[in-house]
């Protein structure tokens, strides 16, 4: 544990010099800014009466476009810093590959939590700014945080393994971009296919649905039950991807 604590301290220092905070703020800023532009522009009293439902519907959709790329960026930056100076050989004389890998995963997890936290915090703030009349459902708010965090963490693990596996970082970014497409359209896929697509879980964990009436042009939001089984998939995927990533780091030593 001592080795991991020291390694995490070193990673925090590297993150400070890489200006990771700006990447976190930029990622959350794009998401919040976009949702704000969609939901807070000239809202009618009807819009304000279902304001939070609108946010709980829009945030996962915007997440599915922005966060796969943001996760690729976070993961790529965390590992690429070692690629640039071919630092692995030197680092492994000072710390174990497991300590290096675990500390980077913990730091990445904290960064993912920060993005999900800022997004969640923006919900009541936007409600206050726009004078929402709908009461805020605390369970839905917590669900938004945990689903944004859980799915993004899985994607971060995937992108981190890709960043370690491919030194040039193009595959990580290209898969992040492709994943954003898949995530966006995954609502139209059959359930049997979606379950295998990591980027589809932003949609699968959505608990607010929408009906749009093309004749009256009215939107009606409804709630779905909270799904449990996707969390099991996320847990298994994180464990498997974490194991793959660790093996890849260990092989760097050889």
């Amino acid at each position: 544990m001592h080795g991991i604590g020291t390694a995490l301290w070193a990673e925090l220092k590297k993150a400070h010099h890489r200006h990771d905070l700006w990447v976190i703020l930029a990622s959350a800023g794009v998401i919040i800014g976009w949702v704000m532009a969609v939901e807070c522009r000239h809202p009618t009293p009807e819009d304000l009466a279902s304001f939070y439902a609108g946010l709980f519907y829009t945030y996962p959709l915007v997440n599915s476009i922005i966060l796969p790329v943001a996760m690729a960026v976070l993961a790529s930056r965390l590992w690429d810093v070692e690629n640039k100076c071919d630092a692995c050989k030197l680092l492994f004389t000072l710390q174990s590959p497991t300590a290096l890998y675990t500390s980077k995963l913990v730091l990445g997890g904290l960064e993912v939590a920060a993005i999900a936290g800022l997004e969640t915090l923006s919900v009541p703030v936007l409600g206050l700014l726009c004078h929402a009349t709908q009461p805020l459902d605390g369970t839905q708010l917590a669900w938004l945080f945990f689903s944004a965090f859980g799915v993004s963490l899985m994607l971060f693990f995937l992108e981190f393994a890709l960043s370690i596996g491919f030194a040039n970082q193009v595959p990580a970014l290209a898969i992040g971009l492709g994943g954003a497409f898949i995530g966006l359209f995954s609502a139209f896929f059959p359930a049997g296919l979606s379950v295998w697509l990591p980027w589809s879980y932003y949609n699968q964990l959505m608990t607010v649905g929408m009906d749009w009436n093309p004749t009256t042009r009215e939107i009606h939001y409804y709630t779905n039950p909270y799904p449990v089984w996707p969390w099991l998939v996320l847990l298994v995927a994180c464990l498997a991807l974490g194991f793959v990533g660790r093996r890849l780091v260990e092989r760097k030593e050889a």
Binding site: G29, V30, G33, A70, A72, R77, N168, V170, F181
Partner: protein, 244 residues
């Protein structure tokens, strides 16, 4: 000197992983756009034009600029390794020649990407049974989108030159695309570089959005491109002390 720079930059692309992004990324909007077209065929009655709206809806809006960002970041990546910046500043070439060479190479890859997008569009149209050939107007829109990409290429090269990270400029491009979409919806598309490819490709529109505004579009492209080249010239000549 520019010739030598061009040869060097082209060499970097031989067998490069960037072709993976070039091949794979445009397939997603083609497949998804075609699927969306088939699902809404009752509403989408303008044949090739309707298919075009579905293909470009997300490609031009969110994924074109980040793809260009990947190309640009890849060409600067080598320069950020080790002490290569010192080497660049010491070689007997004008720094802007290096930037121009990278610009021309990224423009070439972008043009090829647009060709690939058109091939996928044509194949998808034939697969869903659209008659004849796509209208020439769509080819014009595609080429005009490439013209609209010129300031985006210059900006992404500038960002990738200044930010010593492969990934961050790509995230900026995605954020810029969202900003470009919002500016375009507000009617200020000509004032945002990231809106220009979207306007040029006439994304998600059956009729030409730039009717009567072609001059303003070209002026915007020229102004932004000159601005980003001037900034590149400034950073490469006045701020080279930042090199390691």
């Amino acid at each position: 000197m520019i010739k030598r720079c061009l040869v060097a930059e082209n060499q970097k692309l031989h067998g490069a992983a960037v072709w993976l992004a070039f091949l794979i990324v445009p397939i997603f909007p083609a497949v998804m756009g075609t699927f969306n077209y088939q699902q809404n065929i009752a509403l989408l009655q303008s044949a090739w034009y309707s298919l075009w709206t579905q293909h470009t809806l997300f490609y031009a809006t969110f994924f074109f600029a980040p793809l260009v960002g990947v190309y640009a970041a890849y060409l600067w990546r080598l320069e950020h390794f080790g002490h290569n910046w010192n080497l660049i500043m010491a070689v007997p070439i004008h720094p802007i020649d290096l930037f121009l060479a990278k610009f021309l190479v990224v423009f070439k890859v972008t043009l090829l990407t647009q060709g690939w997008v058109f091939l996928l569009f044509f194949a998808a149209g034939k697969l869903v049974g659209l008659p004849g050939l796509p209208p020439a107007e769509i080819v014009v829109w595609l080429l005009r989108g490439t013209v609209g990409s010129v300031p985006v290429i210059a900006l992404q090269l500038l960002l990738s030159m200044r930010i010593r990270s492969f990934a961050v400029p790509v995230l900026v491009a995605l954020g810029g695309s969202v900003g470009g979409l919002l500016m375009n919806s507000a009617g200020y598309g000509l004032y945002c570089p990231y809106s220009l490819p979207l306007l040029g490709m006439n994304a998600n529109a059956n009729s030409d959005k730039l009717t009567g505004e072609t001059f303003a579009f070209l002026a915007s492209v020229a102004a932004f491109t000159l601005l980003f080249f001037a900034l590149a010239q400034f950073f490469l000549t006045k701020r080279d002390v930042n090199a390691e």
